[in-house]
């Protein structure tokens, strides 16, 4: 087990470095002069501009922190490699730059936004697990029945639906058509239409966004659950259980489900990582104040540090979650770690 974890962590490092290089390259080819973007296009005094260039590590400085100039009196730009090391140094110190418009550090903005995304993701994952596993088990044990066809059809449609459109349809249906029933909580403000003193209504605002966010992955969960359960049901030990005279219910609950669930749980784990990536579309449709919406807002405002810093934070979060999922997969399923140690020897 220890070897497996060590191996997996070692594999993580080159991928992480590769990801930072790609992010760095993206950041350093952003069109437009960085200083122009910071100042919002306004001209600034030359001295201020020089300080900004030094602070952003765009030009070379001497040991006293003063800008170096070549024989023509031009600034000497820093090399890309130099800038990359500077970028990595800042990254490890949690410094992802400062928002051009909000003039606040990117890290603090995302620290404020992340709780909303995490809460939404947790709700969506709960929905996904319940509905996906339920539908998958149902369609597997009632194979080729009406229910199986219904689930298959439904999962195909869910995969083809644009998430933002589904969100809007739900808003339209529940917020406008069914207004008498739902009270027309149309925009689903999560600040709580009932006010902070009304915890009962607070969670209501999670329902539609969580459902929208979970829709596609629920379909995948159901499909994986179905094929895994069918797969396991063909195994020898299930036949043994049948031969022992166990009821179908006992076989499924005590023998089949446990093994069939392993890949499903892994998928759900990885999907949770994906949801922490900020469901940019779901959050935009519902004006959800999470990381995805913040990135969308930053794109429209051309606030690049937020976009790039946000992407960096998210990618790191997602990678770490995937790592945790992989390691726990090995815990759950001994075949994984045994298989890998066999390859080593």
């Amino acid at each position: 087990m220890g070897t497996y974890i060590a191996k997996r962590v070692l594999q993580f490092i080159p991928v992480f470095l590769g990801v930072t290089i790609i992010l760095f390259v993206l950041q350093n080819v952003v069109p437009g002069d960085p200083i122009r973007l910071i100042t919002g296009g306004r001209a600034v005094p030359e001295q201020t501009e020089e300080i900004m260039r030094i602070n952003n590590h765009l030009i070379q400085v001497d040991e006293n922190g003063k800008a170096l100039r070549d024989e023509n009196g031009e600034y000497i730009p820093t090399s890309l490699v130099d800038r990359y090391f500077n970028y990595m140094n800042k990254l490890f110190h949690g410094d992802l730059g400062t928002s051009y418009q909000k003039k606040v550090s990117v890290t603090s903005i995302f620290a404020q936004k992340y709780p909303y995304t995490v809460r939404l993701a947790a709700c969506a994952i709960a929905l996904e697990a319940i509905m996906g596993i339920g539908a998958g088990v149902l369609s597997a044990i009632k194979r080729y029945s009406f229910w199986d066809i219904l689930v298959t059809l439904f999962t195909s449609i869910m995969v083809a639906i644009p998430a933002f459109w589904l969100g809007m349809l739900l808003q339209w249906f529940f917020g406008i058509l069914m207004k008498q029933w739902t009270g027309g909580a149309f925009s689903m403000p999560i600040s709580g239409a009932g006010g902070p003193s009304s915890p009962y209504y607070d969670w209501m605002h999670y329902i539609l966004p969580a459902f929208t966010l979970a829709a596609v992955s629920t379909a995948y969960t159901a499909r994986i659950m179905r094929s895994q359960l069918l797969d396991v049901m063909n195994q020898d030990y299930i036949r043994t259980a049948k031969a022992k005279g166990l009821s179908k219910r006992d076989i499924i609950v005590h023998h089949a489900l446990k093994n069939a669930l392993i890949p499903v749980v892994t998928y759900i784990g990885i999907d949770f990582g994906g949801m922490l990536a900020g469901a940019i579309l779901t959050e935009t449709v519902f004006n959800w104040p999470g990381v995805g919406y913040e990135i969308y807002r930053a794109i429209t405002a051309r606030d690049w540090p937020i976009v790039m810093g946000g992407v960096t934070i998210i990618v790191v979060v997602v990678m770490v979650i995937n790592l945790i999922v992989d390691v726990s997969y090995a815990f759950l399923d001994p075949r994984i770690r045994l298989g890998s140690s066999k390859n080593e020897g």
Binding site: V15, G18, L23, V30, W165, M168, V318
Partner: protein
Amino acid sequence: MKYPKPIPEAGTVTMHTVAKATTGDGASRTLWGDAWKRLRRNKLAVIAVIWIVFVAIVALTCDLWAQQLLGDPLYASTAEMSKNTLLAPSLEHPFGTDVTGRDILCRVIYGSRISLSVGIIATAISTVIGLVMGALAAYYGGIFDTIIMRLADIFLAFPYTLFVIAMIAVIGNGIQNVFIAIGILGWPSIARVFRSAILSVKENDYVDAARSMGASDVRIVARHIFPNSVASIVVYATMNIGSAILTEAALSYLGMGVTPPQPSWGAMIQEGQTFLTTAPWMMIMPGLAILTTVLAFTLLGDGLRDALDVKMKDA
């Protein structure tokens, strides 16, 4: 589209030719002939093909008739603007009209051009890059394999939508850039599919036979390996078209795709969001267009997978 046929050279016995021998009905002797037969029996796949052909014909010919029937998709005249604003669906305007009096059906029709071309062009870009990368990795193995597959890992470590958005943020908004971004970022999965397809074909005796007869690497890949692994690529590419259409819709919805007033299904949904209470058809109709088209490509992909007997991870 013309597919390469399996080459009837000595020793070219594939799983498909064996499968064909056992199905034993009809006169067809080729992989694609048999696949087509099996596909025709799959009702959902046939409906999907019909829908895709229909959308394609509409997209190709709409210049000839759409404007005469439904009016200008980009700008409504002042007269139309005053009398046609936000009309509900009717016989005259089957999908209703939007806030400036433009016919929504007409805009959906013109939007199909963007969606189909994004689907096809972006998939073509990813497929070409993916094929080259996958072939290099699988055929040469060793250091090539390690580097390329590690690169694929790095690309796949990014949450996909976010990666495309970051890329567009860098290269700039606009529909060409959407084509490029979706195309470039789609290669790793195709490279993986092609790599494993090659690896399974590469071990066959006929590849050894060709090599011992002095065939060059390029010839072996092009004449022996590619035709025998093309089935899985066709299946994958078909499904990829659907997801490329979805990604374009998402980007246009976020305002990173087409420039208004150009119609794109995603952008139309975004325009409709403002009028959700008064004119829900503005967002419902383009959404239905996306749903049906993407669904058609998914169902066709499923059908092709069964017809071509391609083993894929079920997900």
